[in-house]
C-alpha cells in the first residue's frame, strides 16, 4: 500500500528539483552551496539568489505534522507534549512567534555567506 508523503516550505536551487507531489515549492535556478573543512572546523559556504528570502517559516512542531500511520502515533517530546523542532544546526533557538529561513540554518539569507556548522 502506498503511503502519503507530505512536503512543504522547501527551497530548491541550482538545478535541484522538488518532489513531484509537493505543492508550491520555491525553485530558483542559481545558487551554490559547498562544505569547506578548515582544520577541525566545517563551514557551509553559500551564494544564494534573493528569491530564497521569500520563504520564511516558524519553528515546526508536532502539531504541524500528520499523525504517523502505522504505530498510530504523534511526533512527541518524551513528556508527551507535541514535538518542537526549534534548535537549528548551529544552536540558534527559534522563537515560536518568529519566522526563519528554510533548511538547517535559521539565519541563512541570500547573497554570500560562510557559516561554521561544526
Amino acid at each position: 500500500v502506498k503511503q502519503p508523503v507530505y512536503a512543504r516550505g522547501n527551497v530548491y536551487a541550482a538545478g535541484a528539483r522538488p518532489f513531484a507531489g509537493e505543492r508550491d515549492p520555491l525553485v530558483v535556478d542559481a545558487g551554490t552551496a559547498s562544505i569547506i573543512e578548515d582544520d577541525d572546523a566545517v563551514y557551509l559556504v553559500t551564494d544564494l539568489p534573493e528569491a530564497v528570502d521569500r520563504v520564511r517559516l516558524g519553528p515546526i512542531t508536532g502539531r504541524d505534522l500528520e499523525r504517523v500511520r502505522f504505530p498510530d502515533a504523534e511526533f512527541e517530546e518524551p513528556d508527551g507534549r507535541p514535538a518542537v523542532i526549534d534548535l537549528d544546526l548551529v544552536g540558534r533557538q527559534k522563537q515560536p512567534d518568529q519566522t526563519f529561513a528554510a533548511g538547517p540554518v535559521a539565519d541563512l539569507t541570500s547573497g554570500s555567506s560562510r557559516v561554521r556548522v561544526w
Partner: protein
C-alpha cells in the same frame, strides 16, 4: 534503545571494504528506539548514519554529513523518526516500511524500495514487541518540511538534492568469485547507479 550519541567526529568507515557486506556505517543501529543522535560529524563512511529495522521515536538532529557514500538511511522502520536541522551534503535514502519520518536537510533521496518485514513495537515508547509485523510496502508517509537544497556540482563538496524513486540493487551472492568481480567492477557499478539517480557530486 533509550541512548544518546552526540558530539562525535566519525570518518573513514569501511572505505577499503575490509568487510564485505552490510551492517557497516559511521553510526549503524538496529532497533533504535527513543535514541537521540545529535551533533555528530560523519564523513567518508559507507553510510553516515544507517538506522535499520524498528526505528521508533528516534531523533536525528544537528548533525553534519558529507563525503559519505550515503549520508542517512532509515530502512524498514515504522517511526516516528525525525531528522531535523541536519546538514547533509550527499544523500538520504529512506526505505521506510511504512515510512514515518520528518526530515529537514538539504539533500534527500527517498528510496521507495521494498525490503523485508520488520517487527513493530508497543507505544508509548517501549521495546516491548506486540507480536505484529510490518509488511514490506513501497514506503512513504514521510514529511519534508523547511528543506533548503541545491544541486550538486561535480568535483566539489557541494550540497545537493535529488528526490528520486530508486530501487536498491539486490545484494550479490557471497561467493568468492562474486566478491572479486564485485570489487573490480565497483567503479562502473557506482557510475551506473549515479546516472540512474542523477547523483553527480563525486
Amino acid at each position: 534503545v533509550f541512548s544518546t550519541i552526540e558530539d562525535n567526529h566519525i570518518y573513514n568507515i569501511a572505505l577499503k571494504r575490509e568487510f564485505y557486506g552490510y551492517e557497516i556505517g559511521g553510526i549503524k543501529l538496529h532497533a533504535a528506539i527513543d535514541v537521540v543522535i545529535r551533533h555528530n560529524r560523519s564523513t567518508t563512511a559507507r553510510s553516515g548514519t544507517w538506522l535499520d529495522w524498528q526505528t521508533q521515536g528516534t531523533r536525528i538532529s544537528r548533525n553534519v554529513f558529507y563525503d559519505n557514500n550515503r549520508d542517512l538511511f532509515v530502512e524498514v522502520s515504522h517511526g516516528p523518526t525525525w531528522s531535523s536541522t541536519t546538514s547533509s551534503a550527499r544523500g538520504v535514502a529512506g526505505a521506510v516500511q511504512p515510512g514515518r519520518s520528518v526530515r529537514q536537510q538539504p539533500d534527500l533521496r527517498n528510496a521507495a524500495a521494498r525490503a523485508g518485514d520488520g517487527p513493530g513495537h508497543a507505544l508509548p515508547p517501549s521495546a516491548q514487541h506486540p507480536g505484529r509485523r510490518i509488511r514490506g510496502d513501497p514506503g512513504g508517509d514521510d514529511r519534508y518540511s523547511a528543506i533548503s537544497s541545491s544541486a550538486a556540482t561535480p568535483g566539489r563538496r557541494t550540497a545537493g538534492v535529488r528526490t528520486a524513486s530508486v530501487r536498491r540493487s539486490p545484494a550479490p551472492p557471497a561467493t568468492t568469485d562474486t566478491r572479486r568481480r564485485s570489487r573490480s567492477t565497483s567503479r562502473s557499478s557506482t557510475s551506473s547507479r549515479a546516472a540512474t539517480t542523477g547523483a553527480s557530486s563525486r
